[in-house]
C-alpha cells in the first residue's frame, strides 16, 4: 500500500506544478479556445493515471528483473557472455524509454522528417547499449571511471567537430533524455543486484557511474549519425 501512496505523491509532485502554471497562463496570456483547454485538462488526467500505472508496473516488473539479472550476470565467469547480456539489456530497455520516444518524435517533426524517428531511436539504443556494456566490463576489470570519462568526453567533442551542427544539439539532448524514468531505476536495480552478490565493500562505489557512462553512448551514437549524414 505504501508503494502506491509514495507513487501517487511522486506523480502529483511531478505533474501538478506545471499543470497549475499552464492553467495560470491560460487565464492571463494564453486564452486558448475552450475546446483546446479541455483537451489539455483531459491530457493531464491521462498523464497522471498513466504515470502512476507506469511507475507501479516498473516497480513490479523491471526492478526485480534488473536485480535478478544483476545477480546472475556477475556470477558469470565468461566476460563475453556478460557483455552480450549487457548490450541486449541496455538496448531493449532504452528503446522503450518514454522521454526518448518524445525526443525522437520532436526531432522528426522539427527536421521535417529528414531525421526519421526510428533511425534516431535505434541509433541511440545501440550507443547506449554499447556504453552500458562498457560500464559493466569496467567493473570487472576495475578500470578507473575518471579515465574512461575523460577519454570519452574528449572523443565526444572531437566527433562533434565533424558532425552536422544540428546533430550536436540533438546528441547532447539524447544523452539526457535516455536516462529517464525507465532506464534509471532499471540500471540502479541492476547495480543493487550486482553489489548484493559482490559484497558491500565493492558495492557502494560500483553501483554509481552506470547512468552517467551510458549517457555518453547515446551522445556518441547521434554524433556519429551526424557524421554519416554529412
Amino acid at each position: 500500500m505504501n508503494i502506491i501512496k509514495d507513487t501517487l505523491k511522486e506523480v502529483i509532485y511531478a505533474i501538478l506544478p506545471i499543470a497549475l502554471v499552464i492553467v495560470f497562463f491560460q487565464f492571463t496570456i494564453l486564452h486558448l479556445p475552450t475546446k483546446d483547454f479541455l483537451n489539455f485538462l483531459v491530457g493531464v488526467f491521462f498523464a497522471f493515471v498513466g504515470f502512476v500505472l507506469f511507475l507501479v508496473g516498473v516497480n513490479a516488473s523491471l526492478l526485480p528483473i534488473g536485480e535478478a539479472f544483476g545477480a546472475t550476470l556477475i556470477q558469470d565467469e565468461k566476460v563475453w557472455l556478460l557483455m552480450g547480456f549487457g548490450f541486449t539489456l541496455g538496448f531493449t530497455v532504452v528503446i522503450a524509454e518514454p522521454g526518448l520516444q518524445i525526443l525522437a518524435g520532436q526531432v522528426a517533426k522539427s527536421s521535417g522528417g529528414e531525421i526519421p524517428k526510428y533511425l534516431l531511436l535505434v541509433m541511440v539504443a545501440l550507443g547506449m547499449g554499447s556504453f552500458f556494456t562498457l560500464s559493466l566490463t569496467r567493473i570487472i576489470f576495475g578500470v578507473s571511471l575518471l579515465k574512461i570519462l575523460l577519454v570519452s568526453y574528449i572523443l565526444l567533442f572531437t566527433l562533434a567537430l565533424f558532425s552536422l551542427p544540428e546533430f550536436f544539439t540533438v546528441a547532447f539532448d539524447a544523452g539526457g533524455v535516455t536516462t529517464g524514468p525507465l532506464v534509471v531505476p532499471f540500471i540502479l536495480a541492476l547495480g543493487v543486484g550486482m553489489s548484493a552478490i559482490r559484497g558491500p565493500k565493492a558495492g557502494t562505489e560500483d553501483s554509481f557511474g552506470f547512468v552517467g557512462l551510458s549517457a555518453v553512448g547515446s551522445i556518441m551514437a547521434v554524433l556519429i549519425l551526424g557524421i554519416i549524414y554529412r
Partner: protein
Amino acid sequence: MTIFVDELIVLVKEIFISLLPLLIIFLIFQFIRLKLPKEQFLVIIRGIVLTFVGLVLFLLGIKVGFIRVGELIGQTLGTLDHNWILIPIGFLLGLLVTLAEPGVRILALEVEKVTGGYISRKIILYFLAIGVALAVALSMFRMLKGISLWYFLLPGYCTILTLMWFVKPMFVAIAFDSGGFATGPMITTFMLALMVGSSAAIKGSNPLLDAFGMVAMVAMVPIFSVLVLGVLYKREELRIARLEKQDRLKEEKEIGNANSISHSLDR
C-alpha cells in the same frame, strides 16, 4: 475527442513495438537462466502489462495535453515584442520542475549518505534546483540570441573534467549519474515542446539548432553542482583529519607529560 482516439491507436502500436524486445529478452532469459518461481514470474508479467498500459496513457496525456499546450505557449511568448520574458519564465519553470523531480530527491538522499550528513539533503536540492533553473534560463537566452551550444558545453565540460580530479572518485560517479536524474519526464517533454514552439515563432531561429540543447544544458549543470559540493566536502574532510591529528598530538603530549611527572615522582 477524436484527437485522443487517433493518438491512442498510434501509441498502442508504437509502445507495443518498443516494449516487445524487452518482453522477449526477459522470456528467453527466464527459461534458459533466471528460472524464477512461477509466482514471481506472473507478478513480473503483470507488471510489464501495467507498464505498457501506463506508458500508453502517460504518453497520450503528454502528447495531447502538455506538448500541444507547450508549443502554443512557446509560440505566444516567442511572438511577443518582449520575448525576453522567456528567460525568467524558463528560470521559474526550471525551478518548479526540479524541485518536483523524484530522481533529484533520490540523488539528494544519496549525497547526504555519502558525506555522512555533512552536505544535507536540503542544500543539495536547492543547489540543484537553482542550477537547473539557471540552465533553462541560459538556454532561453541562447535561443533568443542564436548562440551555438558549443560555447556553453565545451567550457562547461572542460571545467567538469578538470574538477573531477579534485574530489573523491565516488563523487565523480554520483555527479555524472546526477545529470541523468535531473532530466526527468517533464523537462524532456513539456519544456522541450515550449522551446520548440517559441523557436519556430522567432524569426530566423532554427528549432534543431536553438531549441534542442536545453536538455543537454540541464544534464550538464548537476554534474558541475555535485562536483562543487565534492570539493567543499573534501575541504571539510581535510579539516577533520587535521583536527584529529592535533587531538592525537595533544594526547600524546599529555601522556608524555604524565610520564615525565611520574618519572620525577619516582625519583
